[in-house]
């Protein structure tokens, strides 16, 4: 007989946060979330607390174009707008695989923002991004990204990328996430920022 487990059982009382609180407090905290039932241009996280060791963004997203297409999600930090990132990525778009290194990239970018076209009703791209040791002003900012789309029709993509800033050492104080410059996130996109203590 296959086990059926009631997820509201007593095990829940031993949550990760509660276990860690006995040795110093919760290690993973929600900082801020941006979402809307209408299209919106970007998610801005300003004055990010410098009290964590690492940051994580968890994202469900698409863009509001009505055609059937997949576009880029972009990430900027500290308001930088030119030649900021050095990018290395591996990528598939359908069955075509590619990888590359790019210097002087303006943004972190990933081809996984599905449009609002009829092929993609209900379909969103997914992403988890890490910013490691983001408060350290003696290191260049970095980003480790994992993104992808599963869809029964149209595009399906997957990408993993590592990024390091080209510029001077600095802590990350602000992050902005958006799609291509002239597009909006489609309704119900959800961008959540978390802090991880070290």
């Amino acid at each position: 007989m296959s086990p059926i487990l009631d997820s509201i059982g007593s095990v829940k009382a031993f949550g990760w946060g509660k276990i860690l609180s006995s040795i110093g407090g919760p290690a993973y905290e929600s900082i801020q979330t941006v979402t809307s039932s209408s299209p919106f241009y970007s998610a801005q996280f300003n004055s990010i607390p410098q009290t964590y060791k690492h940051l994580q963004l968890r994202i469900l997203y698409g863009e509001s174009r009505t055609g059937n297409d997949v576009d880029y999600m972009r990430v900027q930090v500290n308001g930088r707008n030119s030649n900021y990132w050095r990018l290395f990525y591996g990528h598939i778009n359908g069955t075509a695989q590619s990888g590359n290194a790019i210097n002087n990239e303006f943004f972190y970018s990933s081809l996984s923002a599905v449009s609002a076209g009829s092929t993609y009703t209900g379909t969103f791209g997914t992403a988890i991004l890490y910013f490691m040791d983001y408060t350290n002003a003696n290191k260049k900012p970095n980003l480790m990204g994992w993104t992808g789309v599963a869809s029964s029709g149209g595009f399906y993509v997957s990408a993993e990328a590592g990024m390091t800033s080209n510029t001077a050492n600095e802590a990350i104080n602000s992050i902005e996430v958006y799609t291509e410059a002239t597009l909006n996130f489609k309704a119900y996109s959800h961008i959540a920022l978390y802090g991880i203590k070290g």
């Binding site: 296959s2 997820s7 946060g17 509660k18 919760p26 900082i31 209900g122 029964s152 959800h190």
Partner: protein, 166 residues
């Protein structure tokens, strides 16, 4: 104000060889779910442990897209219309490590999407997979089921976590 949020919901460890198990009555108090698993099967290499939601096992409502390096062969593809998400590639020789993120599991305005990674040394396999369940329903139960012909081996462990966004 920041809120602590990454909690264990339930843990299951197989005390005998089994074909499947189900987490039911998953709380709706989180934003995303995460499954971590350490799995071995009872039969052979390359048996996939499937994931289904809310007991749905018909209608070809799932899609699974993957990139994998399996026995030194880089492969990518899509199972566009299937009845499960085929994320957890397992062997019979060793326990292997797996993770699946279930994004926005209770959001009734979106289809349900997963991001998963798996690795197994005994069959030289790493997998990066993305799943979709084309249904707007909130997920209230998750079934883990081994591909036909094998079972989930004794000692395999599955942990279900909840992450809450404020």
């Amino acid at each position: 104000m920041a809120t602590a949020t990454y909690e264990i919901i339930n843990t299951y460890t197989a005390t005998s060889d089994i074909s499947d198990f189900t987490w039911t009555a998953i709380p709706s108090t989180y934003t995303d779910l995460v499954i971590t698993a350490y799995i071995k099967n009872t039969y052979s290499n390359n048996y996939e442990c499937y994931v289904r939601f809310n007991g749905v096992s018909t209608g070809n409502l799932y899609t699974y897209t993957f990139v994998q390096n399996y026995q030194s062969n880089l492969q990518a593809g899509r199972n566009a219309t299937i009845n499960e998400i085929r994320q957890f590639k397992t062997s019979a020789a060793r326990f292997s490590a797996h993770e699946m993120n279930i994004m926005q599991y209770k959001n009734t305005n979106v289809y349900k999407h997963t991001m998963g990674r798996s690795g197994d040394v005994s069959m030289n396999s790493v997998v990066n997979g993305f799943g979709q369940w084309r249904d707007f329903s909130a997920i209230s139960s998750i079934t883990i089921i081994m591909e036909a012909g094998a079972n989930i081996a004794t000692g395999s462990r599955f942990d279900l976590y909840g992450i809450k966004a404020e």
